[in-house]
């Protein structure tokens, strides 16, 4: 009995300790920067603070501006959604980004993120967008 309880307890603690991104609930969650309800997961993004609190955004531009407006709370990780998959968050440092062209995101940040370079290159032609990476994107709002 005690063993079961212990394993359950550790399991629960383990669950609390996870810093995985929370899935975005479409049309229910709202953006923590622009207050709009998130209705399109293609452009959504999420950041997790050092303490494990999740903030959700409808546009990468919202996340960048939110992150830059705060200098007190340290961040653990940034996530962005794959443009080609519904509700699939990935680490933003590993994402291949595009900006501009015919991409139109909810708050006009106009970023699209892809899991691999091949898709990024292919969609860049299709959308007439320019290649981008996270550090350049982040700095463009400073």
């Amino acid at each position: 009995m005690k063993k079961v309880f212990l394993t359950l307890l550790t399991g629960m603690l383990w669950a609390c300790n996870s810093y995985e991104p929370q899935p975005i609930q479409l049309n229910i969650d709202s953006c923590d920067y622009c207050k709009m309800t998130i209705a399109n997961s293609q452009f959504s993004a999420e950041l997790i603070t050092q303490k494990g609190r999740c903030y959700k955004f409808d546009d990468l531009a919202c996340m960048i501006q939110f992150a830059q407006s705060n200098t007190v709370v340290p961040y653990r990780a940034f996530y962005v959604n794959d443009y080609l998959k519904a509700n699939h968050l990935m680490a933003v440092e590993k994402a291949y980004l595009l900006k501009g062209g015919s991409i139109s995101s909810p708050m006009r940040g106009n970023f699209a993120a892809f899991a691999d370079e091949a898709h990024q290159k292919k969609m860049a032609q299709q959308l007439h967008a320019q290649l981008m990476n996270w550090s350049v994107a982040y700095k463009s709002y400073q």
Partner: protein, 409 residues
Amino acid sequence: MKKWVYIVFFLSLSAWSKTIVVGQNKEIQSIRQALKLAQDHDTIKVLQGCYREGNIKIDKAITLWGKNFPVIDGQNKYEVISITASGVVVKGFKIINSGYATLDDPCGIRVYNCSSVSIINNTLDNNFFGIYLQNCSRCIIKNNRIKAYGKQEQLIGNGIHCWKCNQLQIVGNQIAGHRDGIYFEFVTESVIWRNLSNHNIRYGLHFMFSNDDAYITNIFKGNGAGVAVMFTRNVRMFNNYFEENWGDSAYGLLLKEISDSFIYNNTFKQNTSGIYMEGTSRIQVKKNVFESNGWGMKIQASCMENNITQNNFLGNTFDISTNGSLVLNTFDQNYWDKYEGYDLDKNGLGDVPYHPLSLFAVLTENNPSAMLLFRSFMITLLDKSEKILPSITPDNFVDHQPLMKSLPL
């Protein structure tokens, strides 16, 4: 003589433009075929029936006129009607089942880069986007019934979506079940009048970067998050109804980064928050009714020079709430049903200033879970003492001349 000139003129008109009839028992049986034969200013009259012709592209200035609502079916694969010519009229059709795609946004009716297009008296049912205007001017969208069956957790387009347009008239439409009922982005000098936008997934009406517009006498009811007006200036909002928008992030009217606008004679009834304001400036809020809302108005500290006057606040849980101590807005001559002052000189204005911000509204703004204690004895006591000696609430948050009687609105 003059009469003859008119007669000859009209005869010549009818001689120049012809009418092509399309029907299942007629010589011409498809709309596409008729479009090939037609020239500018012709009329294509379509008789009752069901037309499955993939994407119908209108590139001539014609009138497409449906008799007894013929059905045009996109078979869940195509964009149903694409208009690329100025001066087109589409009237009296039932347009159903456009394609569903997240990358190229198929629509019931889409208008590309032209002007003076009229879309009148159509029924749009189960389309991804309803009517989409892209880079257009002087168009009329009138008396259409637009319905979709969007669910939560699912991507769906907007009912009437306008992007980079000017001088539009959106009149008398009924929109339900889409993402945003009416969506404006970079649209200027346009009017939205007498529409019903109910039960949409996100907003009844959504403005982004759209200056110099007006929306008048519309009803927005039961939408996922109410109405949002963002990043714009000079918008006139008159005589609208904002009703039954309940939810954690639902607002009757969400204002963000807007300036120099007018909110007159609207009714905000049964919303979680009647108006939520953030980063707004120089807005006149006058003669509105705030009734039975959770919060009548939520005014964030980033708002300034807004003038809130001659409104009725009736039966709201909290009339006003704010998140800071800085008050740069004025709140004079409103009627507050919670006002307990007196009027000795009988001029209709209370002699004691009214502080609309309750202590508890401030506490819950900073600590939402404190709501548990609402209506407890201690809180009522604290609220009363705060009214007499403001300590936590900003003491300049005050109506100097509260009305004794509600305004007849």
